[in-house]
């Protein structure tokens, strides 16, 4: 099904594979950068990943500055502090080494330093940036958020304690370095959760309203890799081959998400995260099958087609067309069961210890989340509440 109009944009250069990071200096030169600021968090340093970066810079004449204080839930204050560091150190480019929070922070810092501004609030919203930003190279240390492929950043407003969203094609990083060494130390539970986030990006972007054939090609390929490798990585976390596969899948799914956006699963996840602090990947794991089921009436055929990349051609051809969408949902459910048995990744709100009392507020926030607009089926307050109840136990 080809839409009457669509847009697609993905200018990210990818360096993927073993020792990819060793090309860092060369990429900086391509971007005209001579003194980068590396931003990361304390966990990354503890995992010993800085050594790889240092090695990449040795014998290059490129000095770099390091800021390692980015918290899990980055805020406008950190962004401001960091842009002062950028100016003080006379940096001319940014390298984000970390997960979604680190990458989003780097994107926000880039807005401020490029526009020589101190006020992040001036830039909230979509399509507001009128000029290209400073060079940004991203080295993901998780495989899920896909932030290395998107033009979106989410930062907390420390005063009002709400999340601010920024989106612009200029926020898309210049280079993403997918080096298997960088994700080897990611704990299995986190790997499972971020992997389910990536799978949700791929699935929602291929059946929600902004889907298009180009972004679906990315999403399909992500689904195939994830269903082949996710459980394998959890069983064997030190296997660089399957770690590498997950990083590629997360990127592919991020491209899908960036161009086709998400739907009810993300809307519920953002709301539950905002109110109960439920980590995003866990929320995706909980809501995914319910979101698929909720949309069966409008896009059942499309969901049925997703069985092919999920389960492979042999299984797909055994299932009659009209049963494929249900089989796709069952496939996701059994994947969740496997992850639950391996690392206790919660499958229900109850398993995640979310209180029933919060349901009303979550439903209210979910229907006011941007992602809901792109869900194929309309979602009102009652609908959202129903889905939450189904996801409860």
């Amino acid at each position: 099904m080809i839409p009457s109009y669509f847009e697609f944009y993905n200018p990210v250069k990818i360096l993927a594979g073993s020792n990819a990071l060793d090309n860092l200096a060369y990429e900086l030169m391509n971007l005209g950068a001579k003194s980068p600021l590396v931003v990361t968090d304390k966990g990354i340093l503890k995992a010993g990943l800085l050594k790889v970066i240092k090695n990449a810079f040795s014998d290059t004449n490129i000095p770099f500055s390091l800021f390692d204080n980015i918290p899990q839930d980055s805020s406008d204050l950190i962004v401001k502090e960091l842009s002062n560091v950028y100016r003080e150190t006379n940096s001319d480019s940014l390298i984000a080494l970390g997960g979604g929070s680190v990458i989003d922070t780097a994107k926000a810092v880039n807005i401020l330093v490029t526009h020589e501004s101190d006020n992040l609030f001036d830039f909230v919203g979509g399509d507001f940036l009128k000029k290209p930003l400073k060079p940004l190279i991203v080295v993901p240390t998780t495989s899920g958020t896909g932030s290395e492929a998107t033009g979106v950043a989410v930062i907390k407003d420390s005063e009002r304690n709400i999340k601010m969203g920024f989106s612009s094609q200029h926020l898309i990083p210049d280079v993403a370095i997918l080096d298997p060494r960088m994700t080897l130390t990611l704990p299995p539970l986190l790997t499972a959760a971020t992997g389910m986030d990536a799978l949700t990006h791929a699935l929602e972007s291929s059946y929600c309203l902004q889907r298009n054939p180009v972004s679906s090609a990315f999403a399909y390929s992500a689904i195939q890799i994830l269903s082949n490798h996710l459980v394998e990585v959890i069983k064997n976390p030190k296997d660089p081959q399957s770690r590498f596969a997950l990083s590629i899948a997360a990127f592919l799914a991020g491209v899908g998400l960036s161009n086709s956006l998400a739907g009810i699963v993300h809307a519920l996840g953002h709301a539950t995260g905002g109110i109960c602090g439920l980590p995003h990947g866990i929320a995706m794991n909980i809501f995914l099958p319910h979101g698929l089921r909720y949309n069966l009436g409008k896009v059942g055929d499309l969901i049925g087609e997703l069985l092919l990349p999920l389960a492979g051609s042999e299984y797909f051809s055994e299932i009659p067309r009209e049963e494929r969408s249900k089989a796709a949902i069952q496939f996701i459910e059994s994947l969740r069961d496997s992850l639950y048995h391996l690392v206790s990744l919660p499958r229900t709100l109850k398993e995640a210890q979310i209180s029933k009392e919060d349901m009303n507020q979550i439903a209210k926030d979910a229907i006011n989340d941007g992602a809901i607009a792109f869900n194929p089926e309309e979602v009102d307050f009652k609908d959202a509440l129903n889905v939450l109840m189904m996801a409860y136990d």
Binding site: P3, S4, Y5, F6, E7, G125, G126, D127, F128, G165, L209, Q210, K298, I367, N368, D369, G370, I372, A373, F374, P376, E377, E378
Partner: protein
């Protein structure tokens, strides 16, 4: 053989105008503005939506870059057409070109579709944009027959038949002509 000599080996074209379509867009903006203003008087659900908007919130629809615009301001829980010259709008909905604005304003495209197709983009709080979409969905039920609304929205909002007809008459005879 005749050579036409010109000073330059190239031509320059000034930006043209699409006056006809722009005039229709202006009329449609007027009708939409008055309908929203009027419906916020009598539709309880629209009033509940508006309750959540900050007071004196200024919303502007604008056709990029210099086309017609519609400014709406929240006052006493009503959304009223207003002039905006002195201050920056709290929410700006940019429609990317005149053709698209024409399709949108003549209801060949729905408001969600406009965002999906990148025909419009938003500067401002998404929460309020979603609330606005719910308000517009209801106004379409008052203005148009069901078969048309079904093409524009994901699910037609439920408004019982008598309120629907009373609302429609009110918009046609009081709302659009007088803004009441």
């Amino acid at each position: 053989m005749v050579f036409i000599m010109s000073d330059h080996p190239y031509q320059t074209f000034p930006a043209g105008q699409r006056r006809g379509k722009k005039a229709i867009i202006r009329i449609a903006f007027f009708i939409l503005g008055r309908s929203i203003q009027s419906a916020s008087h009598f539709d309880k659900i629209i009033q509940t939506e508006l309750n959540e908007w900050p007071d004196s919130f200024l919303l502007v629809y604008k056709v990029f870059p210099n086309g017609p615009e519609l400014a709406l301001c929240k006052k006493n829980n009503l959304l009223k057409r207003c002039k905006h010259t002195e201050r920056d709008p709290d929410m700006l909905i940019y429609i990317k070109n005149v053709e698209y604005a024409f399709k949108l304003m003549t209801s060949q495209k729905g408001s969600v579709q406009a965002f999906i197709e990148h025909g419009a983009f938003l500067k401002g709080d998404v929460t309020i944009a979603l609330s606005l979409i719910r308000i517009l969905n209801r106004i379409q039920v008052y203005l148009y027959p069901r078969f048309l609304v079904k093409r524009l929205v994901k699910r037609v909002p439920k408004i019982n038949m008598s309120s629907r007809y009373i609302g429609r008459l009110r918009l046609i005879f009081l709302g659009i002509p007088f803004g009441l």
